[in-house]
């Protein structure tokens, strides 16, 4: 299945292998220019080749900071973004520190995305500054699987500090950007030192032949990716183990057989 999907992504003029090598060499050069000595050694793949191929190293870098925000009304409630992040955290090892300002996260939903309640420690910090301090403290410790902070404003300096801490300890840091008003979300355009930047918006669910709400579907946009290109993906929401799936009616080749959730939906 892997080879099928890879082929689907590479232009069909026979030079796919060489293009990969060139890209790899270019990435090496960019990294040496950026001055960070360490190569990304560990990544956390999504298990969806179409997404993993777009990310350097074939997955989400573990010792790095990532940014996730919701789209539309999700900039304020961050409901889909929280589940997306929970799915990522569920696939890491060890406990997870989740720093929040508003206590409206509903733990049973996180458990349904694979993040069991025993693994999550919540910190209710008062404001953005306190959240960033807690994030840094969590990343510095090094024994956690992932450190997540729901934060509105994050300056370049603050994100740089977090990124350096994450690199030093190899812990994944995720800034879940969430604002008080939709208008404040223009802040998401400001540059930060995060490795990747994602936006997760809800899409209408897969229609079912009977009345009811089908499997939840998201539009996941990779807005920025250091040493990589941006892209967007239409995926089925996290399953009980925190994995994303390509929708059956969109996946090509054998992917349809594997992710056969929505096929019955027709």
């Amino acid at each position: 299945m892997d080879s099928n999907t890879e082929d689907a992504n590479v232009p069909k003029h026979g030079s796919g292998r060489r293009r990969d090598e060139v890209m790899e060499a270019l990435r090496d050069r960019i990294e040496s220019l950026e001055g960070s000595k360490r190569r990304i050694r560990k990544v956390l793949p999504f298990g969806v080749p179409r997404i993993d191929n777009k990310l350097p190293g074939g997955g989400l870098a573990v010792g790095a900071l990532h940014e996730v925000a919701g789209g539309g009304n999700g900039t304020v409630d961050g409901a889909a973004a929280a589940l997306f992040v929970a799915g990522i955290a569920a696939r890491t090892h060890g406990q997870v520190l989740w720093c929040i300002t508003r206590a409206d996260l509903f733990a049973p939903a996180l458990a349904q995305a694979g993040l069991t309640p025993d693994r999550v420690i919540y910190v209710e910090a008062g404001d953005d500054k306190a959240i960033l301090t807690c994030l840094e403290e969590g990343l510095r410790h090094g024994g956690l699987g992932a450190v997540i902070g729901e934060v509105a404003r994050m300056s370049m300096t603050a994100s740089r500090r977090l990124q350096l801490r994450a690199e030093a300890t190899g812990t994944m840091g995720i800034a879940l950007r969430r604002w008080r008003r939709p208008a404040d979300a223009v802040d998401f355009g400001q540059p930060t030192a995060a490795m990747t930047r994602w936006r997760v918006s809800v899409l209408p669910s897969v229609p079912l032949p009977v009345p009811g709400v089908g499997r939840h579907r998201w539009l996941v946009e990779l807005i920025r990716c250091r040493a990589g290109e941006s892209a967007d993906f239409e995926v089925d929401a996290c399953d009980a183990e925190g994995r994303l799936h390509l929708p059956a009616d969109l996946a090509d080749g054998s992917g349809a057989a594997e992710g056969g959730y929505g096929r019955a939906a027709g």
Binding site: D77, L97, V120, E137
Partner: protein, 476 residues
Amino acid sequence: MVLVGRQGQRQVIVAADEAAQRQGLRPGMPATTARVLVPALIVQEHDAQADAETLDRIAVWMMQRYAPIVAADPPDGIVLDTSGADHLHGGEGVMLVSIVQRLAASGVRARAVVADTWGAAHAVARFGRRTTVVVSSGGAREAVEGLPIIALRLPADIVSGLRVLGFERISDLLAVPRAPLALRFGPELGRRMDQALGTLAEPIDPVRPEEIVSVRRAFAEPIGAPETITRYIGKLVVALCERLTERGLGAKRVDLLCHRVDNTVQAIRVGTALPVREAKRLGRLLTDKVETIEPGFGIECLSLAATLAEPLAERQAASSLVEESVPDISGLVDVLANQVGESRLYRMAPVASDVPERSVTRVAPMAPMAGATWPEHWPRPSRLLPRPEVIDAMALLPDHPPAWFSWRGVRHRVRHADGPERVFGEWWKGDMEMSAVRDYFQVENDAGERFWIFRAGDGEDAATGSHRWYLHGLFG
């Protein structure tokens, strides 16, 4: 019932319970008068020694629990220096309520006040109207102005002398020049007034029971630079840990008291989730807070005490080649708890309840892992509103989802819906829930946003609920 004590040659009432007060008995009344007024009076001898001991015991308990600097304020009070300690208990107001409730649970009726000065807090606690008061910073003068002069902790002869002159309230005293009063009543009156208003410092001499493990270091020259304080904290912590090791204890709460040259005491308190006697970890927690110390003209003595200690046995570190070691995060939990407060750091644990907001509870971050989780077959939203919000909706009764609803002024057309999931009230919680019902629906609008809404009531019987619609959560 009254307690009777000796005052000079007379027997007077020291304390009267509620029933006695209803009969018109007041503390200070001669015991013989009281016996005449209420023939069936129960009279007990007042034991001043036992009173003082109990007060000391409560003071020690408060020190272990709330703030590092605590002293008994005889005959009936306890004074705490809460600066730098209240945030660990969720703010000043919350802390006061918790103190009063805990004391009430052990049978002590108490009133609690936070103010800038000992004098003001003392006055408002005894002569204010409410059980708990937080006097805002700088508001000590306004808070005490309206109170009677007896609130100033003056000897009885000064109080009666002032009453003869027509002074009733503290504001009367503040309005007249100081000099004639001082000439007549001596310096005590001016001193008490200044202490209440905060122009004269009043140090608290903290209780330090013998059994608490503590180390101290006095300096020939007062120290002041943060680096110097940090260095000596490092030395003290090592000494403290040695003492703890001798006794086989681990510290759960550590207080650093800085005695300044101007006879005031500043304190830092840190707490840990599990007993600790690692010098490095305790040192880290304390040095995080060094910047909160104001050395003033210098610190002449540092003392470090393990206020709350629990037995801590040496543990053998199991080194296994196969098993992956589980990283110890109690150090991180301690650092965070001292930054944001213990109550703001928690894990969620399931509760066997179908009512969504009751199905989660907070447990301590280092609580043992139960491995329990919620049933997975019902969809649950990732964001649950703090309380359900009323929405306008139009739906077919009894069990259809709404065709549209409007929430926060925005109208949503319902494209797909799932439900109902019926949740019954928990009759054992109260009469209101005897027949209450909620019908939950998952609905999706045109844009694909998914909401969790419910109708109070089953749609047929009005006794089960108001049949109004509420929005309770947002799905991702």
